[in-house]
């Protein structure tokens, strides 16, 4: 059974204070790892897909990296508008691969 564990559950940062969110996963043959951002009362918004160890993707102040066991979402010089819950999900192999397994998320608060 695929498993995704995100840490920390919550993170408070001062504006400009860089940090990283962790996503540890267990899946028998990773087809893709996804990062989403979710604002209160909204649906998750797609950020990145990573497919293989060593891959990196960047978007503005966010950079996602992938190893064989975990993914990191690095936030550089965050701003208050980066406050949200960040979700990680994995896609496994096989006929049911469209069923993403999600972690519980990391709630990020950036204080001005």
């Amino acid at each position: 059974e695929d498993q995704v564990t995100q840490s920390p559950e919550a993170l408070r940062l001062q504006e400009g204070e860089s940090s990283s969110l962790n996503c540890s996963y267990t899946v028998s043959g990773l087809r893709g790892l996804f990062w989403y951002r979710q604002d209160p009362g909204k649906g998750p918004e797609f950020l990145f897909t990573l497919y293989s160890a060593g891959e990196e993707k960047e978007k503005e102040r966010l950079k996602a990296t992938l190893t064989k066991k975990e993914s990191f979402l690095h936030i550089t010089a965050p701003k208050p508008e980066d406050s949200a819950t960040y979700l990680c999900a994995v896609q496994g192999p096989g006929a049911g691969s469209y069923q993403l397994t999600f972690g519980k998320g990391t709630k990020l608060s950036v204080i001005p």
């Binding site: 998750p44 918004e45 993403l100 519980k104």
Partner: protein, 113 residues
């Protein structure tokens, strides 16, 4: 362009009543998914539709839950004889193909009293 649209945005119902939740996917997206998000839990897969193929209903938690997709577009999730444990946010998502990123709607918050 227009995103995934879900209605209603909020629904309060009494235990034992039936509810219908609606999802309008992005035009041209062939894959449609329903997920459930309970407080403090990760998103839970419910059901998947792809084109005209038979849906994958393996995530539906009980036979009180059913879903259909008409004309390859709009989908309706029906919960019969609602229970308090059904209270959650029900999210619909669509994607261009099975391996494309999911685009989520803003969900329907269901409260069963």
């Amino acid at each position: 362009g227009a995103g995934v649209s879900q209605s209603p945005s909020n629904k309060v119902t009494e235990k034992g009543k039936d509810v219908e939740l609606r999802c309008d996917p992005i035009s041209g997206h062939t894959a449609l998914y329903w997920y459930r998000q309970s407080l403090g839990q990760g998103l839970e897969f419910l059901i998947y539709f792809q084109g005209n193929s038979a849906p994958d209903k393996s995530g539906l938690p009980s036979d009180r839950f059913s879903a259909e997709r008409t004309g390859g577009s709009v989908s309706t999730l029906t919960i019969q004889r609602t229970q308090q444990e059904d209270s959650a946010v029900y999210l619909c998502a669509s994607s261009v193909t099975t391996n494309s990123p999911l685009h989520f709607g803003n969900g329907t918050r269901l409260t069963v009293t």
